[in-house]
């Protein structure tokens, strides 16, 4: 156990220093493994692990869902999503912020990336909110927080990675993400309502749309809704495997982009495909590193030592999950979501199994916690994405603006914790 803790400490130091996360985890994993079993065993393990992970069929869902997100992003569909949400909510106080939350949810339903959701929605809803004199903190906070829905509402890349690491069914995890995702949408809307109730000037009502414009706006999101139902419905009905669903989703997203006048040239295709493959490669470098590191951690016996420690401390399943969630919150201040899932989950996996924790439910808990990490300082990736797209808004205002949503995520976390059915009801129907 000591050697594993030393490994973690060295890894965190290297990451703080600025070493590339994938390379650092891989090298620390190899050195740690070599310390326990010798260099030749460590080298062989690393080579085999990298090659096997690179050829893992289940992981092929990642590039295809990333590609689906890139196509949707390129199709500039976010304007329609925002207009459709505005058609229903725009005329209420805080209506543009409410519309932003709903549009973020819609975008998340076809794009598994929080950063892409935040970046896209900043371009779309920030100018509209500026026009209606929304406070900078409410406008930017709503977008940064709405973006976090990207990793909860399926298809979600972090849920796929969690599924691979914890050996859980990805289809079940996607199903489990739906109700908590909708719950968070409702909580975010309540957060907006509270802010505008306390400070009505922060979010005035928008102008109502004409019935014709409303109809047109609602009609335009039909294809998105169809794609979401096709992908999720296919998995839910066991018609496709998640990998097949991701392929169908990517083709569907490409068709939507084509129908909207995008992806009409070789260069547009090349841009989209390269963007997706590049994101995939950077992500897989971290996956390789983390899985090599996990081999070292497993060999050190740390995950099994933790079982005894949990036993000795007399921790119940609930207390154990609370403890892991607490560590994940701390880690969320340093690592991004993928890092948390890859480093934390394997360590506690045996203890969680031993305590009979429902791993689907736990996956949702961990993803909600990582959502927090996306908007809390010092990293708060979504906050920085909003800042980069809207450079005139002070960083302090964005961080101020996300506070009501942090509270909303905490409420969501507590609700899912106290009522696990929120997460496990839909998967339960499939099991």
């Amino acid at each position: 156990m000591t050697i594993a803790l030393v490994g973690f400490a060295v890894l965190i130091l290297l990451c703080f220093f600025g070493f590339r996360v994938g390379f650092a985890t891989l090298i620390v994993g190899v050195i740690g493994f070599a310390y326990l079993r010798g260099w030749s065993a460590a080298f062989a393990m690393a080579g085999t692990q990298v090659m096997e992970d690179a050829m893992n069929y289940n992981l092929s869902v990642i590039p295809l869902f990333i590609l689906m997100g890139v196509f949707i992003y390129k199709a500039e569909i976010s304007n329609d999503l925002f207009d459709a949400a505005y058609a229903g909510l725009g005329q209420f106080r805080g209506g543009l912020a409410l519309s932003t939350v709903v549009a973020c949810a819609g975008f998340s339903a076809v794009c598994g990336s929080s950063l892409a959701t935040a970046a896209t929605m900043t371009k779309v809803s920030m100018p509209a909110m500026k026009r209606y004199k929304y406070s900078d903190s409410l406008a930017s906070g709503t977008i940064a927080s709405g973006g976090t829905l990207g990793i909860m509402i399926p298809p979600s890349v972090p849920l796929v990675i969690y599924g691979i690491v914890s050996e859980q069914d990805i289809g079940l995890l996607f199903m489990a993400g739906i109700i908590p995702g909708l719950l968070l949408v409702c909580l975010f809307m309540i957060a907006v309502a509270c802010v505008v109730r306390l400070d009505p000037k922060a979010g005035p009502a928008g102008d109502p749309l004409s019935p014709e414009k409303k109809r047109r706006a609602l009609r335009s999101v039909g294809p998105i809704l169809f794609l979401f139902v096709l992908v999720l419905g296919g998995i839910y009905g066991s018609i496709f495997t998640p990998t097949e669903a991701s392929g169908i989703g990517a083709v569907g997203a490409a068709l939507i982009a084509l129908s909207r006048g995008f992806l009409r040239t070789w260069n547009e295709w090349l841009d989209a495909l390269v963007e997706a493959s590049k994101t995939t490669a950077a992500l897989f470098m971290c996956i390789f590193g983390a899985l090599v590191f996990a081999q070292f951690i497993n060999l050190s016996g740390m995950p099994f030592d933790l079982i005894f420690i949990v036993d000795d401390l007399g921790l119940s399943a609930t207390q154990l999950v609370m403890f892991v969630a607490f560590i994940a919150i701390i880690m969320g201040m340093i690592f991004e979501s993928i890092g948390i899932l890859l480093l934390l989950v394997p360590v506690f996996l045996p203890s969680l199994y031993q305590a009979n924790v429902d791993m689907i439910w736990f996956g949702i808990i961990v993803v909600i916690v990582t959502e927090l990490g996306l908007i809390t300082p010092p990293i708060g990736m979504n906050v920085f994405v909003v800042k980069s797209v809207a450079p005139n808004v002070a960083l302090s205002k964005i961080f101020l603006g996300v506070i009501p949503f942090i509270i909303a995520i905490f409420v969501g976390l507590v609700l899912v914790f106290v009522f696990p059915q929120i997460a496990v009801f839909l998967p339960g129907l499939l099991r």
């Binding site: 994938g22 092929s60 590039p63 990998t243 392929g247 495909l273 493959s277 340093i334």
Partner: protein, 172 residues
């Protein structure tokens, strides 16, 4: 040497861009056609899952060349900026040296893996293709991405040096 690297890097990067894009496109199309074939014509593509596995590995390692060339790997940025300001040169050399070392290690191990699969005459499970086709290509792409990393860092340092010279001549 400088001009050779400046000539070489964009060409390798363009090549791996095209390659990764084509591979990813085939992966998407193959998945889609397989499902269509199965449900509409009752004729799924034989060994499609295995082909997707190979395409995944090839896509990752071809795109790794692009990631390495512009050093766009995932980084924890909490203290990096501050440390870099404090020890700019040492920080740069350490980070870059470590990345090259790690990438060289990965390439070396993948080469050994490929060599083993060649000597053992390993075949893929379903399609019964020689495994060396995939493992060899992955090892080759990994070495190519190592070259991209080294050339990318070289070019980056050249630009940095030029920037520094500009700044110092400006201040003079």
């Amino acid at each position: 040497m400088e001009s050779f690297i400046k000539y070489l890097l964009p060409r390798i990067v363009y090549l791996v861009k095209i390659l990764s894009a084509v591979l990813l496109f085939i992966m998407m199309a193959l998945t889609f056609i397989d499902v269509l074939g199965r449900y509409l014509f009752n004729a799924p593509i034989y060994g499609s899952a295995e082909m997707i596995q190979f395409l995944l590995a090839l896509t990752i390692f071809s795109a790794l060349g692009i990631v390495n060339a512009d050093d766009s790997h995932i980084v924890v940025e909490v203290f990096e900026e501050r440390i870099r300001k404090f020890i700019p040169n040492l920080h740069g050399y350490l980070i870059q040296g470590f990345s090259v070392l790690a990438m060289a290690f990965i390439s070396w191990q993948l080469y050994i893996f490929a060599e083993d699969s060649y000597h053992l005459g390993s075949m893929t499970t379903v399609l019964e293709w020689p495994l060396i086709i995939v493992t060899g290509s992955v090892a080759f792409l990994s070495i190519l991405s190592l070259i991209c990393l080294i050339c990318g860092l070289f070019v980056k340092n050249l630009y940095k040096k030029a920037e520094d010279n500009k700044t110092s001549s400006g201040s003079n």
